[in-house]
Every structure is written in C-alpha cells, then in structure tokens.
C-alpha cells in the first residue's frame, strides 16, 4: 500500500522541479510501460540486467520477456504477471520520466529503491514489529467481518471496502494505539451518546465514512492524534478527530488512484445527539483501543 504518490515524493525530495513534473504529468499521451521498468519496479531485475536484455534485443528478433527468461532473470510466471500490470497507471509516471530523459535507468532504479524504503518505513517501524502475524490474522478477521455486513452496502466492490477498512485499522495502529484490535464481541450496541465525524467519499466510488466514539473516548482520541492536552470536547477536539478521518481518507485516495480509480472528498462534518443516532449504519466495525472503543461506520449510496 502507498501513502505517498511517487510524483509527490520526487517533488518533495527535490528530484524534479515543479515545472518539469507539471510538463510530464500534463502531457496528453498514452504511455505504454515497458517490461523492464516494471521488472525494476517490482525488484525482479536490476537496471544492469535490463540493459543487458536491451542489448540482446538489438541483436535478435525476440521480445524482452523471452530474452529475460533465456538469461534466467525472469520466470515465465514473472513475465505473465508483469504483462498483466502493463496497463496499470501506477508505473506510468516512471516510464514517462524515462521517455522524457529526465532520469536514466540507473538513476530511476536508485530513486525507486529510496522511495520503496521510505514507503516501508512508515508502516513497518516499531509499530508493526513483532505484530506481523497478528496483523495478517486481523486482516482476515476484518475481511470476514465486513463480508457479513456487506449486503446492505450498495455498489462499492467488496475488495474496495476491505481495503478501506484495513487502511483504517493500520492508521489506528500507526497514529492512535499500536495494540488496537477488531472488537468482534457479540454486543454491537453503539453508545447512546455517540459522536460521529462524517466525510463523504465521491466520484468513482460513493460512500459516507464515519468515525465515532462515546464522548470520553472522543476527547482522548482528539488528544492522542493532536499530541496536545485536550481535556474536553471543544473546537480543537472536533478539528483533531475530523483531521484524523480526513488523513485516513486522503491516504485512501492515494491508494485507490494506484489502481486507476479517482475519488475525492468533501470536508468533514460533526454529528451528535439524535443526528448521530439516526445515521444509517450499513457497516459498523468496532475497534478496541487503549483509549476505548472507536467505531468505523460506512454508509453506501
């Protein structure tokens, strides 16, 4: 999963100017990603091996994949898998940067390695050490929990709902409590004094997302996320919980864009009292954390 688009990474780290990146991104062209770029991106080949295959291609009438198999760099299965990814938008920027001679193959390999290391660092640091097995089983639990409620949800595909919910869980671990877990206990009654923050996800997929908690947990959630002493529900507490949901949903927009879908967000809003109780709750996922139960609620459209 991603938490930063490659273009943003290049720009933020000074690998490319805003002007040059703008030119690459806004060219109207259909970029066909070459197998060598995909292989480097997937860590299946080095830039040197790709160069060797290219050199062989000049001497014989054979495809990249065939030569890479002959040289023992790729298996047939690898080639099939890479061919199926050729149309996915995720690596199109990488190919465009090469086509425009902004980077050489070696430079790009080096930058991609740094980018991947950076991607790994955020979600695999101390928060996730020694808990990988636990996280894998939690993913399975979450997916089966979602499936049991999915019928009510509407037309958003099940795997998108699963991805969304698992991202929400990973962000709970990352930002709120590294021991958080799915609370699948039979008592699923929501608190009577529930406070909800709502944010609408729109465009290719349309659904409403809510994060909810009882008032005490809500204030603690605000304080933990803001890393500030927040002791009562006030404008800052509301801003903190809203921003937390906004951050989660922003990361979802980045992830989903890697699969060539486009989603956008509306600004978050707060609901409490009767407004919170009467919200249609198609999917309710309770997570137990050190500060109390935090509910993810999804409503299809």
């Amino acid at each position: 999963m991603l938490h930063q688009y490659f273009g943003n990474y290049l720009l933020n780290n000074g690998f490319i100017s805003a002007e040059a990146l703008n030119k690459v991104l806004n060219q109207n062209r259909s970029t066909r990603v070459k197998l060598g770029v995909l292989a480097i991106n997937k860590d299946l080949m080095t830039s040197e091996q790709v160069r060797q295959v290219h050199a062989q291609q000049k001497k014989m009438d054979k495809k990249f994949g065939e030569i890479a198999i002959d040289l023992g760099y790729l298996s047939e299965q690898d080639v099939e898998s890479l061919l199926s990814e050729q149309k996915v938008g995720a690596v199109q920027l990488t190919q465009a940067l090469l086509d425009d001679d902004i980077f050489t193959l070696e430079e790009l390999e080096n930058i991609l390695n740094q980018y991947k290391a950076y991607m790994m660092s955020e979600y695999s640091s101390e928060n996730f050490s020694n808990t990988n097995n636990k996280n894998e089983s939690t993913t399975e639990l979450i997916n089966s929990y979602i499936k049991s409620q999915y019928d009510l949800f509407g037309i958003v595909p099940l795997d998108v709902v699963n991805d969304y919910t698992n991202l929400f869980y990973r962000n709970l671990i990352r930002f709120i409590d590294n021991q958080a877990f799915l609370n699948s206990a039979p008592n699923k009654n929501l608190p009577k004094d529930l406070i909800l923050v709502k944010q609408e996800i729109k465009e290719d997929f349309n659904f409403d997302t809510y994060i909810g908690a009882d008032p005490e947990t809500y204030v603690k959630l605000a304080a933990v996320y803001a890393k500030m002493a927040i002791e009562k529900r006030d404008a800052l507490a509301d801003a903190s919980v809203s921003e937390y949901l906004n951050l989660n949903n922003g990361l979802f927009t980045v992830n989903i864009s890697e699969e060539n879908y486009s989603v956008n967000l509306n600004p978050p809003t707060i609901l409490d009292g009767e407004d919170a109780q009467t919200v249609t709750k198609d999917i309710v996922v309770p997570f137990m954390t050190i500060i109390g139960n935090i509910y993810l609620i999804l409503q299809g459209k």
Binding site: N8, A239, S257
Partner: protein
C-alpha cells in the same frame, strides 16, 4: 515588540492544522507573521491585503476549494508562491495543482524536514 517582517498565509479549514503549522513556522523562524484563513475565499482576500511571501493551501475546504483559490491567486498575482498542503495526494490532484502553478505539494501528515526546507527556500 518589533513588527515581524515576513508573512506566511496558512489556509486550512482545520483549526488543528492551522495551530500545528503556525507553531512549526514560528519555531523555524520567529520573524514570520502567520496569517490564517479557513477557506479559499477568505484566503484570496487575505492574500490581496497582505501579499504574503508564501501561502500554504489545503484543497478540501468549504466555499472556494484550494485548487480554485490557487488559480485565482495566480491569475492576479503571477509571482505568488503557493504550496499545497493536503491529505488528498493522488496523481490527479498533483497534476491539477502543478498546472495551476503550485510550487510544491506536501501531503498530510507533512514531514518536518520537507516543510522546513520549503519555508527556508521561500522566506
């Protein structure tokens, strides 16, 4: 107390983000005055009045969103330096922001090193 000589406009509908950013900017350079706006409309008005050296602009906001505000600022103040600071950091947003003339695009939660580098570059 002497008047601060440099101005930064921070536009975000989140009180938390405005507080965190204001705090961070003043730690990087105590001589920066931070002006706050909560939506794109207000940001444009404050830009006109103050002509800040740098603007941090969120995208998802009520009234005028960040991209529309950026276009409005750049069409009237070509040399304005605007950095997008948004949770929606996907390809389409980056493309729109750069096309509209953004100098950079930081995704929330921002990294302190990147933010510091930007402040030091433009102020």
């Amino acid at each position: 107390m002497s008047e601060k000589t440099k101005k930064v406009l921070v536009c975000d509908d989140s009180l938390l983000i405005r507080m965190q950013l204001k705090d961070f900017i003043s730690k990087v350079d105590a001589d920066i005055e931070v002006i706050e706006a909560t939506n794109g409309q207000e940001a444009y008005q404050l830009f006109e009045e103050n002509q800040p050296a740098l603007v941090f602009l969120d995208i998802v906001m009520p009234e005028l969103n960040g991209i529309e505000c950026l276009r409005k600022i750049k069409s009237n103040f070509e040399d304005a330096k605007v950095v997008i600071l948004s949770s929606v950091g996907n390809k389409d947003m980056l493309k729109d922001a750069l096309k509209a003339g953004a100098e950079n695009f930081l995704q929330k939660p921002w990294e302190e090193d990147s933010m510091k580098k930007i402040i030091e570059t433009y102020l």
